[in-house]
Symmetry: C2
């Protein structure tokens, strides 16, 4: 028996009147005659034409939605609407049945909520097939972008001994019998007896270790899972998510902004090129979804237009201070429409402020720089004004912050001083400080929340729908 040909290849075939074997899952079967078969290689189905008069009725009955089939037949030019080729079946084998009374995924519109509960089967829907193919392309494009530029992909550790960044709640990792945790004589937990001989947790960022790599290999990036034990049940947060964190020796903040903007445009373009069908489908999906909203809540642009707009326009770059001035003078602020009025300098921006800047004021992606040091991490390079640091956040329409980064503080004395001010233990981070003791140099990097990028490119509204098996409070199913 011949090997299967993937449906994507069949649909692009220049040759017809050839014998083919195709395998996949039934998406629909109509008139006992036309099977829509999908194998996940593309969002499009191939039409299988069944000679129902000469086919065993018992077999026909088993061609149900979700069943796995192997079909031999002839690929011919199709006269039907919506496809250029189809397969006239000569032999149909049922590889696996799918009881239509029990199969959860029916050929109708399911709610995203329902599909989330059936995340093991939602890959079989057009929406999620498209999402995960786009996600795949974005992930590969990230690698290709950095590889073309000579970066080294570094696997930083997932299990770490410190929440040095103080970025938020971390998950404990332990090998203790939780029913019987050993204690020292003074009644404290005896972490010396734990697997790693100390308290450990899941990483919140690979940046600090990434910097160690950059201070020798010059250009590195990480791409791995990171974790937050924050009890936030929102459409924008996950307990487990993937981050991309480049770190580049000798780069300053302008280089850093250029790198981030280039990367975002590169990966979006890659997905547009590779996944035109999927993005077209997702564009239609979003347009349909938006029709259910009141006019003033609908986007001015379709998904596809938004992506192209993002490629064709420079991101707006301005300082936090300039942004505050714009926000203070803005109509919603003056009319007291913001839930958090913008009054002075120094506080963090709320989502509503970011959205105003991106979606109303500039109408394009925005890079804000030079934030007040009080609201940023200890490792960011201090400006001479004594008030701000060389931070940058990239804000995207509908998403908010998609990238956060900075030039790093490379001066040992300044770094230690800031760590002391902020209560970051310098002894624990001896290895981080060593890079400032020996051959320090200016360098910069950023973190891209991968799922936020996938959200943007797929036009989905809930971050739980763009990662295969989302982890969030009270949910670790599958």
């Amino acid at each position: 028996m011949s090997q299967r040909t993937k449906i994507k290849a069949l649909l692009q075939s220049q040759q017809t009147e050839i014998d083919v074997t195709v395998k996949g899952w039934v998406r629909a079967f109509r008139s006992n005659r036309f099977i829509a078969l999908n194998d996940g290689s593309t969002n499009n189905n191939i039409q299988i034409v069944v000679d129902f008069e000469n086919t065993d009725p018992a077999l026909l009955k088993r061609i149900t939605v979700g069943a796995a089939l192997s079909v031999e037949g002839k690929l011919i030019a199709s006269l039907g609407k919506g496809q250029t080729v189809e397969v006239v079946a000569t032999e149909i084998e049922i590889l696996g049945d799918s009881d239509p009374e029990k199969y959860p995924i029916q050929p109708k519109k399911h709610s995203l909520e329902f599909l989330r509960e059936n995340a093991h089967l939602r890959f079989r829907t057009s929406t999620f097939g498209a999402i995960f193919r786009v996600r795949n392309s974005l992930a590969f494009a990230v690698h290709q972008f950095f590889q073309e530029r000579g970066f080294v992909y570094l696997h930083t550790p997932v299990i770490t001994a410190s929440d040095a960044e103080g970025a938020g709640e971390t998950f404990h990792v332990t090998n203790f019998d939780l029913d019987n945790i050993p204690k020292t004589e003074t009644g404290e937990i005896d972490f010396k007896q734990d697997f790693f001989g100390r308290a450990t947790n899941l990483t919140v960022s690979g940046q600090l270790e990434g910097e160690l790599g950059a201070m020798a290999l010059s250009d590195i990036y990480t791409f791995g899972p990171t974790f937050r034990a924050e009890n936030s049940n929102t459409t924008r947060h996950l307990a487990e998510f993937w981050m991309i964190e480049p770190e580049v020796a000798f780069n300053d903040l302008v280089d850093n902004m250029d790198l981030a903007e280039d990367m975002l445009k590169y990966v979006i373009k890659y997905a547009l090129d590779k996944n035109a069908d999927d993005i077209e489908f997702l564009t239609q999906r979003l347009t349909e979804e938006e029709k259910t909203k009141p006019q003033n809540e609908r986007s001015e642009m379709t998904l596809l237009e938004k992506l192209q707009f993002c490629l064709n326009n420079d991101f707006e770059r301005l300082t936090y201070t300039e942004a505050i001035d714009i926000l203070k003078e803005s109509t919603p602020n003056k009319k007291k429409k913001f839930a958090y009025p913008v009054e002075g300098w120094g506080t963090d921006l709320q989502s509503e402020h970011e959205r105003y800047l991106v979606e109303k004021h500039f109408k394009k992606p925005v890079i804000l720089t030079d934030y007040p040091k009080e609201i940023k991490a200890f490792y960011m390079r201090q400006n001479d004004d004594g008030k701000t640091v060389r931070a940058m956040d990239i804000l995207f329409p509908g998403i908010g912050e998609i990238v956060g980064g900075s030039q790093r503080e490379e001066r040992l004395d300044k770094l230690e001083q800031r760590m002391n001010e902020m209560g970051i233990p310098t002894e624990e981070l001896w290895w981080y400080l060593d890079t400032r003791r020996f051959g320090s140099c200016p360098h910069a990097g950023f973190g891209l929340g991968f799922e936020r990028l996938v959200l943007f490119v797929t036009g989905m509204g809930n971050i739980r729908d763009v990662i295969p098996f989302p982890r969030f409070p009270k949910n670790a199913e599958f």
Copy 2:
């Protein structure tokens, strides 16, 4: 000031007599005249020629091993041995000093043990620069191999609710205050109050979730961290390591072997092409190291020869049963040289047996198939003999098992029966069984331990030296 040019590009430059800016770290400074500068882009240094008579002696003193420099100068053809170009410096700036009294990495041979304790700085050595550039190439090659074949890269969860495979000890993940773990009325741990509302741990494999993807997208692969809380202090085990796990619908075991062999050859060839300098360096390193061993313990082939041999030869394929016959009749078995004599059929092979088959008998990579079901996991497809399963292990010289895989049991009744026999909870894995209930089909996959691959290609002896920051019992530093 002009942007820097990376040293790799400078060394390959066809143009000379041009002004360049180069930045990097001092590897050596001899005769107050010649700086060997490295920026991690290549294992080779560029020579900077210093006009020491016209340079401030205070500056010359600061050009020490490990210091970070920015150098402006002219790229000229070199008359010296060992390089084709060099930079005549017109301006040298010390970006970061490195106190030679305190800098741990001196221009001499350090033990691998010492460098492991200084893993934050070992990237700055030739050996570890080469290792991590090779590791990078292998990782990217894995992605490129699968992308070229239309696979979807799937991020399977790191935090999971079950050790369904029963593969070994897992690490607990919890958000509990370990000093005050809530209990139910009956005195059990009240996991309902934990972050995910149930007991969770770090994944030992993404395979089961990967299969869910394959049963819709056809061809998927994972590439992510996996964890074992085994207390094994060996040169072959890590508590945290990276795995690649492809899973392909409609593939049988032969397809699976072909895919694994193609992949291994592809990624090794990619590294040989991209990292010729690094692999040459690592080949010399290994040859030097082997000189310290007794003649009979040295390899017959150099590292480079081993890699090329692996590309140029088909892997030997035979069944477990055939392997047992060979081992039983082997000289070491008859002469009672094996620590574990091979007597009958049914027990697992020891490392010494695998090495005999690979290194002595066949002298090439070996794929063993059809293992006794008792020593393999529940999800492997049962053969008709009632005794064996469609498993495969790929054994590599010096490494042992580098790939483990199987055709999966796609028949619901057989799968449930085996799970019951082995005490695997079917209720917990309802989602896994659903793929056999709805549109099941033959499929196969495997797992590649990424660090074992890096070990093989770099010729290193200890797995802790091929991952940036190794995690093992009593160690989670950095």
